[in-house]
Symmetry: C2
């Protein structure tokens, strides 16, 4: 934690674990008898509980979105750039709730948790979770917190899908949905990259059909490969070029297969670090949730028809060099919103960092996000 603490930081935050013991039935028709959700909150809920904002995380995200866990913490939460006093999601005005989703590996119940029926980790017996299931569990979380209606549900990437699903499944329980760097459904190429990641994990001998916990091992190589592939798709060709170019680690070619170019050792390092800290079964689960997300599916593949049930107002943002979920995918969504006569603001932000741009503050991104959230705050009297 920097000393002195910047005035726009939420400072030290403490996660809470909430236990739910009413069974939840999932899209796959299976039921979890009980489960935990880990959350963090920033700011204060106002008297009429109208100033609550829900943050939904992306594939490898979690509840720790802003601030620090201790004075020794070197890095703040994953979206600290956008959450804090005076930041776009202004914790002086909003009560911000951030959770680790069901199926996650940061404290909420997931494949690594103990299955009460066996006393062993769930592993492959943990049910497949969909974006709809997450939104359902988030609605139950809102009940627990006494929040009838969110001022806004906000998310980037997979998080944006949750914000969109909220608008469809609980149209009266949010005023605004902020959908950033997202897509109304994956393309065949998106699914293909996820499939490579899953094959990398499941074909690792240490995977043991998902029961690696009992074997006291981890499918490190598989998860590392999965992360490496993912990482490439989060960055733009140009930003990788800017960051690494073709720079060599040493001065001359070594004519071998060890890491020779900077980009190779960077990717290996990122992959290795990730493989020590993230659960492989959760990675499978999160990628499958991405694949399955397709709100138009039940409406004759007509997204506008699906959106007819939405009541909230939308902010949709995309980034010019995002090739994972291109601006064209956001425009599909915006066009459907317009066709369905929903209120929507849209901007494509010029930024060089590919999909990761949603995590990196830039003047126009920050200005638009801030202006929109200011309007949300005024609307709810925050």
């Amino acid at each position: 934690m920097p000393d002195p603490l910047p005035t726009d930081s939420v400072g030290i935050v403490t996660p809470q674990t909430l236990h739910f013991d009413t069974p939840i039935t999932l899209a796959c028709n299976r039921t979890l008898e009980s489960y935990d959700l880990v959350i963090e909150t920033y700011g204060k809920l106002n008297a009429d509980a109208s100033n609550a904002v829900l943050i939904c995380h992306a594939l490898s995200g979690h509840h720790h979105a802003a601030g620090y866990h201790s004075e020794d913490d070197r890095k703040p939460g994953w979206w600290d750039s956008c959450i804090g006093p005076g930041k776009p999601i202004d914790t002086n005005r909003f009560f911000v709730v951030s959770l680790n989703n069901l199926g996650g590996c940061h404290g909420s119940t997931g494949p690594g948790s103990t299955n009460p029926q066996t006393g062993q980790p769930y592993g492959p017996d943990f049910p497949v979770i969909t974006v709809r299931d997450w939104v359902h569990s988030q609605a139950l979380l809102a009940d627990r917190l006494g929040i009838d209606c969110w001022a806004a549900v906000v998310g980037g990437s997979l998080g944006g899908m949750q914000a969109l699903q909220w608008s469809l499944d609980y149209p009266d329980r949010l005023k605004h949905a902020v959908v950033i760097a997202s897509t109304p459904r994956l393309s065949a190429q998106n699914i293909a990259f996820n499939e490579v990641a899953r094959q990398a994990i499941t074909s690792d001998r240490e995977f043991h059909d998902g029961r690696y916990y009992e074997h006291n091992t981890l499918p490190r190589r598989g998860l590392m490969l999965a992360r490496m592939v993912g990482h490439i798709t989060y960055l733009s060709d140009a930003s990788m070029g800017e960051k690494f170019g073709r720079e060599l680690r040493d001065q001359a070619y070594k004519f071998g297969y060890d890491a020779e170019f900077q980009v190779e050792s960077y990717l290996r390092y990122q992959g290795e670090r990730f493989s020590e800290s993230f659960d492989a079964n959760t990675y499978l689960l999160m990628t499958r949730a991405l694949d399955y997300f397709d709100p138009a599916y039940e409406h004759d593949n007509d997204l506008a028809k699906a959106l007819l049930r939405a009541r909230c107002e939308f902010l949709v943002l995309s980034f010019s060099t995002d090739w994972r979920f291109t601006p064209a995918r956001s425009e599909e969504l915006v066009n459907a919103m317009i066709a369905a006569r929903r209120r929507v603001s849209y901007a494509e932000i010029d930024a060089p960092w590919g999909h990761d741009a949603f995590l990196i503050p830039t003047p126009r991104y920050t200005a638009i996000f801030e202006a929109y959230m200011d309007r949300v705050a005024r609307e709810v009297g925050a």
Copy 2:
């Protein structure tokens, strides 16, 4: 083989193995004492040996570029669409030479060949080969065939890099270089994808540090993953969407991790087939040759400066949806050629199939390629 044989097919062809026993010293400073190259030829060499065209193959290619090996052969050579009587590379006029490159796994000496010093397969002891080494070995092949000067050296992707390298290393030994869907050097993103492929292979337990031959096994899963990643980069997002969309294999979601979408089972199938037929060490070698290719490197990173030594005329072609080697990469090359005052014709072909478009005949592609090669033929009196 279709019956009757199409009149524009070269028909049944027979590969030849040529043995070279003069040692060849490679860019890595190691020497191969002797080696074999497998070739196929189509058409007839004319009296003054002026009508020879060299075909250079891409990453997973080989010598079998056109025609059939037997009547039972179901598929023709990999570039049969462009090589044959009346096709762009017209075997009625040209003597076409196609080889399996050094380091390959289709008969030319490579990692799977017996190391005369040990009596065992080379495996990881096979030297790293560069594009320059290939061109060197191809020049020795030309000597053997009595070809002083190629009418044209032609290649797509990694093959295009060889055509370009020819123009720099043997400027007087080719009249034309045809560089299709290629790039003057890989981007950081290109290298990153190669690195994922290599990590997938080398982290497969069956790889045994490259000595899987002795262990009587193959790193199938690693090679399968490598091919899956590669395959995604060869296709465009749009062409994958066109081919597979989000179509399910069964009617409804199964909520599991088995292949659920068509694109998943397609990729798995392609990967598995490839992993049975291609050598993993060769795959490492070919991807490293791609990484290292950078003719500007020795000329202060100034491609135009490198091109000053070229004497041939160039045809450069790119494809609109190729995101592996985008049209912008071909334009870099063309711009450098123009700056170096070389003669160059360039076209970007509108085609939906991504990088693979160079293997798929389309009217404009065929027309431009044919017109250019017709001019080459006239020039050399073929």
